[in-house]
């Protein structure tokens, strides 16, 4: 009898505890969800405004949903500028970001391999120098780089040099980079040297070891670097602003900024443009979130 009572009491107590835990979890849960929605609000507003009529944006409260779905804002935005569509900007951004990504993946993995596998003189000094360039804001070298590109000849441009072409926006990527070298070196160091030794016994030279052993194994790290470089190139504003001279060569970001200057007050079209420009990155992020998280935690650098 008393045993039963004791058991019942324990059961009741653990039930209370469980309930209390549940309540606390529910509280945390809803707080997190509310916070998450709050973080998303700017995106939600971007979407709702992009579907409103211009009159609606000014008259009705911004907090309300549009009366109807005015998708025509998107086509208006797409064809708003004379002679070019937003698709041109997209194309330009894709070309530049892809080439920059390709260059970084190739040359950073090569440098990372050298730092991870070989011993050579000045290795520490050189690696420290590369890391130091991570800390230096790239804007510090804007002027000399501009001057360099100004004096590099290019027969196909109006200026006769690299200014006004997209070359300054991706050629640099074929000459190494601190973020990628650091990230990949960290990864290469975790690859057991036995694998390389085995390949070497089979008669592979360092280049073959690099291509057949290290590169395939480092695929996740290479993907991380590729995704980050693509994102940085896609989102960059300052460099394209400096080097691109005419509308048909603009990237999405410069196009968007230009658009804003031309169409002050045309909020629905502007929000449609902003949303469309973000879409590729948002999709990439949802698909490959783990690579973003890994890249940030591995070297945590934003640009």
């Amino acid at each position: 009898m008393s045993m039963q009572a004791a058991t019942a009491r324990t059961a009741r107590r653990s039930a209370t505890r469980r309930r209390r835990k549940l309540v606390r979890q529910a509280g945390q849960y809803s707080a997190l969800v509310v916070g998450g929605v709050a973080m998303m609000i700017p995106f939600l507003w971007m979407l709702t405004v992009s579907l409103k009529t211009r009159a609606e944006v000014f008259s009705s409260s911004p907090l309300f949903f549009p009366s109807g779905l005015h998708w025509e804002n998107y086509s208006k935005m797409w064809f708003a500028l004379p002679g070019v569509t937003f698709g041109t900007f997209f194309q330009n951004s894709i070309v530049i970001a892809s080439l920059a990504t390709l260059g970084q993946v190739i040359t950073c993995s090569m440098a990372a391999y050298a730092f991870a596998v070989f011993d050579f003189r000045f290795k520490r000094v050189l690696f420290a120098m590369i890391l130091a360039t991570l800390i230096i804001p790239f804007q510090v070298v804007l002027v000399p780089n501009f001057i360099l590109y100004r004096y590099l000849p290019w027969p196909f441009s109006e200026s006769g040099n690299w200014i006004g072409t997209n070359l300054p926006l991706w050629v640099w990527a074929f000459f190494g980079g601190a973020f990628g070298t650091f990230l990949l070196r960290q990864f290469f160091l975790t690859i057991p040297s036995e694998l390389a030794d085995a390949a070497r016994v089979d008669g592979a030279n360092p280049w073959q070891v690099f291509l057949r052993v290290y590169v395939p194994l480092a695929r996740p790290a290479l993907a991380t670097l590729a995704i980050f470089q693509f994102m940085w190139s896609w989102n960059d504003l300052l460099d394209p602003l400096i080097y691109l001279r005419d509308l048909p060569s603009y990237t999405t970001t410069v196009g968007l900024a230009f658009f804003q200057g031309q169409f002050v007050g045309k909020w629905p079209e502007m929000m449609a443009g902003a949303l469309v420009s973000l879409l590729p990155m948002i999709i990439l992020f949802v698909i490959a979130q783990k690579y973003f998280v890994r890249g940030i935690t591995l070297s945590g650098l934003k640009g």
Binding site: V143, R150, F175, M270
Partner: protein
């Protein structure tokens, strides 16, 4: 190197294990050639695109150069002019204000958010996705929607006027402009810092908390005695990034402050450099501004690293 890298020691932190014992002899000559092959692009890049140009910036800053006529050597004139240039001083002050306000607030919020997100509950991956999303979005597009949020008939003013607070001009108001830009930047910068803090939190062994609970420590006690000290490396790391990032603000200012023409209320250092060099084609003047920026960032970073021993605890 895992969740909480120690920046100062990065170069030497993870030394590669020696691959082949070569009984003290140096690398073979043939290997040297391979090293050169693998490093060639990087070496050229370092010399021509990053390290070299820092020195070039210094040299150019001693000249007067409009890119049309030959550069003239003017000594330190550019620096003298800069220190008397009201727009430059405003840019300096705005950038300093931006840094001093956005870094501590941003990091504190990120820490709180990371603590909240550090739970194993169902659907947490989706919740985190929502918080992380601003990470991948361009400051240009984000600035556009915030421009609308801050607009005279925008939602922020609507909400405030519902509480009887008069509508503000935010971006157009000389006093409120910079804080408005800071608020937006904090929102956008949150995810990266949260991710680093989350990794730091997840690296703290659960036994520490169990032991503290046994000793009777409450939630706040555990946070203060365990979480905070063990998270200092992550804080140090995010601090460096936030500090350097804060000096580089450009996109938001360019887009929000009437494209290409920020007033004195919002002009930043990078914008000033951009304007001097690529709008007014005063290359020497822009280079001098760049060099000052370089010095400020270098000194700030060194001072920050010096404080490391005083508050950062490595396990």
């Amino acid at each position: 190197m895992t969740s909480s890298p120690r920046i100062g020691d990065r170069a030497g932190a993870v030394e590669p294990p020696r691959r082949r014992a070569r009984s003290g002899r140096g690398p073979r000559a043939s290997e040297g050639r391979w090293v050169l092959l693998f490093l060639a692009p990087t070496l050229i890049g370092l010399a021509v695109l990053s390290a070299g140009p820092i020195l070039a910036t210094l040299a150019i800053s001693l000249t007067k150069w409009d890119m049309l006529t030959a550069p003239q050597l003017v000594g330190l004139d550019n620096y003298g002019t800069l220190l008397g240039d009201d727009r430059f001083l405003k840019a300096l002050r705005n950038t300093a204000f931006y840094t001093v306000v956005s870094v501590p607030i941003g990091l504190t919020l990120a820490l709180a958010l990371a603590t909240a997100l550090n739970q194993q509950i169902r659907g947490i991956a989706w919740i985190r996705t929502a918080y992380f999303l601003p990470l991948v979005t361009s400051a240009t597009a984000i600035a556009l929607v915030w421009l609308w949020i801050y607009s005279p008939t925008g939602p922020l003013n609507d909400i405030l006027s519902a509480f009887g607070i008069p509508r503000q001009r935010w971006i157009a108001d000389p006093v409120l402009a910079m804080p408005s830009i800071i608020a937006m930047s904090i929102w956008q910068g949150l995810p990266a810092n949260v991710i680093i803090f989350l990794a730091g939190l997840q690296a703290i062994p659960a036994e520490y908390y169990d032991a503290a609970s046994v000793d009777g420590a409450g939630r706040w006690g555990r946070f203060r005695k365990i979480t905070l000290p063990l998270l200092t490396p992550s804080m140090f790391f995010t601090g460096v990034l936030a500090l350097i990032g804060a000096f580089q603000v450009f996109d938001q200012v360019y887009v929000m402050a009437n494209p290409g023409k920020p007033g004195e209320a919002t002009i930043t250092l990078v914008y000033f450099i951009y304007e001097a060099g690529f709008r007014n084609f005063k290359m020497g003047y822009a280079a001098a501004g760049s060099w000052i920026m370089f010095l400020i960032v270098a000194v700030a970073t060194i001072v920050y690293f010096r404080t490391q021993d005083r508050w950062v605890h490595y396990q």
